[in-house]
Symmetry: D2
Subunit: 389 residues, 4 copies
């Protein structure tokens, strides 16, 4: 079961950690901690092995992957010495990375899509892959501008392939959706690990359906929201009334700069904001705030403050601080998703996969945000995947 993992943003921190980490795991140099699919619960599920995964991807940067890996050592993401030990693997991945689209206004979006899809087909063929999973791990986009062509595949195709696009117009599709279009076109499942639009437009859902492709997202649940997804059920189960829940996220790196700007914060903060009312069933004071602190580099600190009422309304409070390395938290989930989605495709699953809600802040097709119930759903689903011979 040779499986391709095609990463949008292939030279970014998450993708580099995925590439270096998968190589390290294959070589027995590190443990796949954080890989949920290694738990006993997944025993017997016909997943591709780690040594059957082949990484490639699109990026608009040219920086060498070995150099990126060394930067991640300095940043405390990868262990000292690792890049040297897996240098050959990194160079091989590097050679499989193709120039992506930067989302700038293009007069022929259809051609861009075709070119991206051709890259995918080429990747599959050259590496003799049974399937290729496309996953977006690039920077978060701002909320996509609404466009009438999003409503149906016919309209969208016409707009992308037939109508002229003036450079000064807003693009019909944001980059993440161009990639999703290309993925489905090339017969690849698509997963959005960011809160970007990706496949979450009616026209793209239609395309996935037409091609029989499964897809999932959005926004990997790696830190503050992960904790929320177990703490909020705790308050609910104990009939304690949450009155305020304020979250502050301090981010460095490119992510901090991107998310502190207006647009992306909005999409990020809104994917974070659905969790609480969904679990608790009532609105709560507070909100989620994201601030850029370049000095934090690749690390992230979240502080959440919760005010709740106990018996007769007595006010109490709880706080937590989460100090995590986003790439080290995201990378194993990316590998999990690739393994699960490749198997889902072989099992002929199509359309959105709500059973993968466990991995996401804002899961497609699901309103379940309690981690424990998401886990039960995930395991049941994975165990039920039957793969033809």
């Amino acid at each position: 079961m040779r499986t391709g993992l095609w990463l949008i943003g292939a030279r970014g921190s998450v993708a580099t950690t995925v590439a270096a980490g998968a190589a390290a795991v294959r070589a027995g140099l590190g443990a796949p901690l954080g890989c949920v699919t290694t738990l006993d619960d997944f025993q017997g599920v016909p997943l591709p092995r780690f040594d059957e995964l082949v990484c490639g991807g699109h990026d608009i940067s040219d920086i060498d992957l070995v150099k990126r890996a060394e930067q991640l050592v300095t940043a405390g993401v990868l262990p000292a010495g690792l890049p040297g030990l897996v240098e050959d693997d990194l160079r091989a991945v590097d050679a499989r990375i193709r120039r992506g689209t930067s989302g700038e206004r293009d007069s022929r979006p259809g051609e861009v899509i075709d070119s991206l899809a051709a890259d995918l087909a080429d990747f599959r063929k050259r590496n003799n892959l049974d399937s290729v999973v496309v996953m977006n791990v690039s920077s978060t986009e701002g909320p996509a501008a609404p466009h009438p062509a999003h409503a149906s595949l016919t309209a969208l195709r016409r707009s992308l392939y037939e109508e002229p696009h003036a450079r000064e117009q807003a693009p019909v599709l944001p980059s993440s959706s161009l990639y999703a279009f290309a993925a489905f076109t090339a017969g690849c499942p698509y997963i959005d690990f960011t809160p970007s639009a990706g496949a979450r437009l009616p026209a793209l859902a239609e395309l996935a359906h037409e091609r029989g492709m499964p897809w999932a997202g959005s926004d990997g649940k790696t830190g503050e929201t992960l904790v929320k997804s177990v703490l909020a059920p705790m308050f609910a189960r104990r009939a304690l009334r949450v009155r305020g829940w304020s979250g502050t996220n301090l981010l460095g790196g490119g992510d901090g700069a991107t998310l502190d700007a207006e647009g992306p914060v909005n999409s990020k903060a809104s994917s974070k904001a659905v969790v609480l009312p969904s679990i608790l069933g009532y609105p709560v004071d507070g909100g989620v705030h994201i601030h850029n602190v370049p000095a934090l580099g690749e690390w992230k600190t979240a502080w959440d403050h919760i005010v709740f009422e106990g018996f007769l309304g007595t006010r109490m409070s709880m706080q937590f601080t989460w100090q995590g390395c986003d790439s080290a938290l995201a990378a194993p989930l990316v590998l999990d998703l690739a393994r699960l989605m490749a198997t889902a495709q072989r099992a002929r699953r199509t359309g959105p996969v709500p059973e993968l809600a466990f991995f996401f802040k804002d899961p497609v097709g699901s309103h379940e945000h309690s981690l424990e119930r998401q886990f039960t759903t995930l395991v049941t689903w994975a165990r039920g995947l039957r793969v033809g011979s």
Copy 2:
């Protein structure tokens, strides 16, 4: 379904909050927040109503219950003004409190038990109660000294009722177990909300079986351990390896003084210590520490620091601070347990009730410590209770 709730430690902070709170709820003066049995999940379970609960109990203190309630207002546990509004109810409960045993060495423990049991029978008769649930909410005892008579009911009866007891000897049973013996003797279910021995001795389990009584415990899960019971599963579900988990509990009030002394801390800390390895399946550095800070009064602050490893061993950390009022957290659970246990008795459940694990740090008959799974078990069990007409 008039149901008695007999509290050991009936003038303590928890019991006073229970009495004042139950009265407030009955009178519509406050919401039964924190009462799990009010959740929709328990709809249809034939539980006694709040206005069918009658409180009484044993205590060795003489302090007036209204005065205690006023102290709890000053301490921020009860709302200002409440004691005045429910004064009649508090005086009624006060009149039902009987002198308990202080656990001092007594030459005739059998007679002590018989007298305690007579108090229970009298309480039931005077108040025309269908059932009486006995619950221990008194101070935590030190670990019980082992005694050969604990091994069988025959041996225990002989020792308690027939053998002479020199005052300088260690007592055969600690107070909590004398109360459990009396409860079963009087046909009452027994619940230990503290980590004391209570009914957890083979001879007492035998007695419960002989009398057909259900029983449960130990050590109400109200704060730090409650949070652990959702956070530890989160790390497990995500395959993140916890390397260190250190808990510090700052307590004031009588509880702080009791638990910072040698014996009780040990029993408390050990009931807290079973949770992590049970959920995670491997040992973790750290430990649980309890420190007395009188200035905190009735409030409790817990700080937990967790070190864990992500992908390739990257070290990350999480901290939480819990600032709670123990009595306001415990009281609604005491009411829940009384309602559930009365129904269990009517449904002819006997012996330990592991399905109540949701409420306890160290549940009898259960090794399940994940809150979410405990909740599922609890609801399924409660819904299955069939009460004869």
Copy 3:
């Protein structure tokens, strides 16, 4: 030395706490904790005694002061029972409160000032006061719109008293500055406990000089910034390089709503932002954020996260959480400032008083933000005040 304390915002939480607290201290019902002038260092400084202070003030609300005090009991600011014990005093203060100006555009600002000044003169006369200190403890205003008349007293007088003011124009002076103008006119020192403009306009400084009045401000240092003013010097003294310092302030009450809106946050956040670079001497990543959480009521929680570098650039971090009640922190400082300023006036101090920097986030006439050095300066200055007979 009968001394008047005239509070702008006399029915607000701070002012009510000042009035109730001063009465409680006079009656021996509570300790003046937080009153810096009670420290031994101020022994011998000829300050008015607590029982020589008489409170009055302006407000635009009509709510009864006893009612406000009871609200503050419920909110956990004042001890249960206090309002009843000091009811007579509160009623007396209540009777001395006059209708203030709400800052709405007024066609005759000069008349408003004259009327405010007349209130002050009346207060002094009726209560036979040696001096009256005016202090602004009302809600924070947005940043004052610049106006050419701010540049000189002559221009300002002409604009206020002679020129017609169209209602649709921005007002020449914000409310806080109208009060400052009135105070100086009536021969009263003026202190701004908020970050509002107050006397910080060249024309008003000129007026203070002309009338020989001392004045001070701005923005009482009661929480997060107080802690900063000792932690930042710690890092500086130890030659540790601070790379990021992010502050999040969660506020409830009216204050939260006011400061989370655009304008006032800006003035508050900017008065908070001057501290760090001033102490450290270099810019730092991060910033100060204010979020409204109504559930917090009169309480405030601040969380600060600091990243710093030690030897060879090793990154370390520190966090603190401050959970305070703003009114209980501000009220004693208001009493201190009234006592000190009355004495300063008697000692014929005029103009801005930088020696009071100890009390303020953004002290007039001072760039010193280290608390310890501010304290030394304050004590030296206070001890040097010579009051004629």
Copy 4:
């Protein structure tokens, strides 16, 4: 001014960081952040330059210094790549390390001292050093057993050099004091960066006086206590009454294991415990607790929880978490102390040096614990040092 820095515990984490760091600073590879003597305040004080410092020391371990440095890279203390860049320097220091005394019972302690002193003389001569400062940075000892010979130098000399010592007897002097005796004998100032006894015995103070040597200590102030030394004065200056202050220190590495055992914790906790009552002037609930968490490695996390009262007794609280790397915090202070003490010796200062209190948790000869005042004292003293030509 070639100056020797002789470290007791020369292969430990602090000493290795000192050696590697001093080399890095000399070579321009890293900034001497955390070195207080680089602040402008010390301009003009005739301190030895960094490139005039020569390191050597005693240790009982044989592990290679380059290897230790590499371990410290893995542990996140030293920057990746540094050991290779300063390998020659590390090898040179390595060659200057002599076998120390492990403090095991020895029948001839006088001979041990003479041998240690001979090592010092040899170090000075071979490296052509103007002065040699001896500093103890080894593991913390348990509290020294009292012995009558500690009372006077005559008695101590007799006991060490003339009386037979049975191996089963407790030793007359703990290791740290043997080193101090050797230092003074060899004409070297002695500084104790640990809470061990060192020179703090009357007989040793007498010896320092006899030889005209300055000495200082104890217990470098690098984390929790450093923060306390600015926060406690803050509460004092603001007349806020601290009611509880509880500190929890989580340590890994060798230090955690040493301090969590009975003896050393006691000496550490007691050196930490003097700070608060000394600054505040009254006793406070709480205490300082040290727990071993091996997973923390070379890093340390301290959590302090403070309850205090504001106006009229309103209870408020503050918490802080300090996440530091002890060696990266200690090393620059070790360099500072070496520079300052060498200059003090040249300026003919003898006896305890209370002016160095700034550096220590439990300063010899000083009861001043406020960091700001300690700093003022330090700078004044350093500027006054006159060195003869």
